[in-house]
């Protein structure tokens, strides 16, 4: 890795990123041959591409993303799923692991159900389709949902899953993280409260130094008290 990719610099919309030696990546735009930041975020350079990593904003679905959705409407041959994004996503009966008769959709999933799904396709007008026809994808029974900004999902997971692994070991909760910023968890009531607090901590301090250590300290302190 080169030195450039290690620098972390806050950029604002309209800030000059590079005057043409690099290639424009995500969150940037080109004007007069120069590259500018299109949004508020952190500048990052990867293999000759300048990118801006956003600090907020809404989740925009991309094919292949694992997401946690909520059923908001039922049709005769599909369900409408809210995926925590500006675009609702239909889930067709052909895309579920069960054999569903026409008009029999409500027997399998009803309004308010939470499901683990995958984004199947997104067309140019951002019409989204989701699927559950893959291993591991299913309806989530029980548990609780926490919603955070999708841009903070990588922080909650941590390097090679270190952060989430730590929360799981301490709290003994089952946790799923959707790419859309929804987190599902199930476990003891008290454990879930602690896990939720830890996630809130990460959400608020996503860009601060030594976050993993602080979350560890927090978890250690609450579990020491209980023993």
């Amino acid at each position: 890795m080169n030195n450039e990719s290690m620098t972390r610099e806050l950029v604002l919309p309209g800030d000059l990123l590079d005057d043409g030696t690099m290639k424009p990546g995500e969150g940037t735009f080109v004007s007069d041959g120069k590259i500018f930041a299109a949004m508020l975020g952190i500048k990052s350079v990867k293999s000759n591409f300048v990118n801006v990593i956003p600090l907020g904003g809404r989740y925009i679905p991309a094919p292949g993303d694992m997401i946690i959705g909520k059923v908001i409407d039922i049709g005769p041959s599909n369900w409408l799923v809210d995926i925590f994004s500006p675009y609702p996503a239909p889930l067709h009966v052909n895309e579920v692991p069960w054999r569903v008769e026409f008009g029999d959709t409500a027997r399998y999933l009803s309004v308010g159900d939470t499901l683990l799904a995958k984004v199947l396709s997104v067309d140019e007008t951002k019409r989204v389709q989701v699927t559950m026809k893959e291993q591991g994808l299913r309806k989530l029974q029980g548990g609780q949902i926490v919603e955070i900004s999708h841009s903070k999902v990588p922080r909650v997971i941590g390097k090679n899953g270190s952060m989430i692994q730590m929360i799981k070991t301490y709290t003994n909760c089952r946790i799923f993280i959707g790419q859309n910023g929804r987190i599902w968890m199930d476990g003891n009531m008290e454990d879930m409260v602690h896990a939720m607090q830890a996630i809130k901590m990460i959400d608020e301090g996503a860009q601060t130094l030594k976050l993993t250590e602080r979350v560890k300290e927090f978890l250690e302190s609450v579990y020491r008290k209980e023993e």
Binding site: M6, R8, E9, L10, L12, P13, G14, G27, F29, S31, F36, A38, M39, L40, I42, S44, I53, P54, L55, G56, G57, R58, I60, G64, D65, M66, P86, Y87, P88, L116, T125, K126, G136, S151, V153, P154, R155, I157, G158, K159, N160, G161, I164, Q165, K168, N172, C173, R174, I175, F176, I177, G178, Q179, G205, Q207, T208, L209, K210, L211, T212
Partner: protein, 259 residues
């Protein structure tokens, strides 16, 4: 616009009634991210003006017929609170606020990369808490900061300022008295980097020479305001700067994990 008023608004030394020089801005304060429930927000004080802006979206466009399959629409709503002026303002939209809402929507629509979010709407709510001339400019300044705070992709921040003519002199950033009894009012909003003008209106009369002078003065002031807008956003995200951890980039299959 009082036209030929005999009110003396500038003294012999070129000092205005509030003690400013002709090319001086009012004291300005900008704060980003002041509201928790909105996606982005900003609070702006320009002299006695107090303006709050909140941004929601991009979200599903509500009256479906207003959706654009190719791009997002920007809907701004400018509103003056009933206690924002000395006589109670009758609440609700009126001719003036509808005009200003449209003007600001069109200015913001030009800077936002609307094609990134087809079929959605980006809603900006501007509330004037206290008015003292130049609220449309203050509203625009706040709206631009709030949009950036919401993480919406845009070409640049938008500064705006009003220039006017008072006692036959071109002056910057009119206050209430100068606006009411002056001879002209010229609000300007622009993209500082390219010099593109996003909003310009003129009330009253200016000669060509005066107009050129006013524009030049406005452009200079816009750059000043632009610096303040950037500073507000930098302050809001200060923790980010310099002390962040490395970005963990994990393979996609790691995203969903089970204990």
């Amino acid at each position: 616009m009082g036209g030929n008023s005999d009110m003396k608004l500038i003294d012999e030394n070129g000092i205005r009634i509030d003690g400013r020089k002709v090319d001086e801005l009012r004291p300005m304060k900008i704060e980003a991210g002041v509201l928790k429930s909105a996606d982005g927000s900003a609070y702006v004080e320009i002299g006695k003006n107090k303006v709050l802006a909140a941004v929601y979206g991009p979200r599903e466009c509500h009256p479906r017929h207003m959706q654009n399959p190719a791009k997002a629409i920007v809907q701004c709503k400018y509103n003056m609170i009933s206690f924002s002026v000395s006589d109670r303002k009758r609440p609700g939209p009126d001719r003036r606020s509808v005009e200003i809402s449209k003007l600001i929507s069109e200015a913001m629509e030009y800077v936002v990369f609307t094609e990134n979010y087809p079929r959605t709407s980006i809603d900006v709510y501007i509330e004037v808490l206290q008015a003292n001339a130049g609220t449309r400019c203050a509203g625009l300044v706040a709206a631009a900061v709030a949009l950036a705070d919401a993480g919406i992709p845009m070409k640049d921040l938008v500064p705006a300022v009003a220039v006017g003519k008072v006692n036959d002199q071109v002056v910057l950033d009119l206050n209430k008295e100068e606006d009411n009894y002056g001879q002209a009012d010229l609000p300007i909003a622009m993209i500082p980097r390219t010099g593109e003008v996003l909003l310009m209106q003129m009330d009253g009369h200016l000669t060509q020479a005066e107009f050129d002078q006013a524009l030049e003065m406005g452009v200079r002031a816009c750059h000043e305001i632009y610096a303040l807008q950037k500073d507000a956003l930098r302050r809001r995200y200060a923790i980010v700067n310099g002390e962040a951890e490395e970005e963990p980039k994990e393979p996609a299959e790691d995203v969903i994990e089970e204990a």
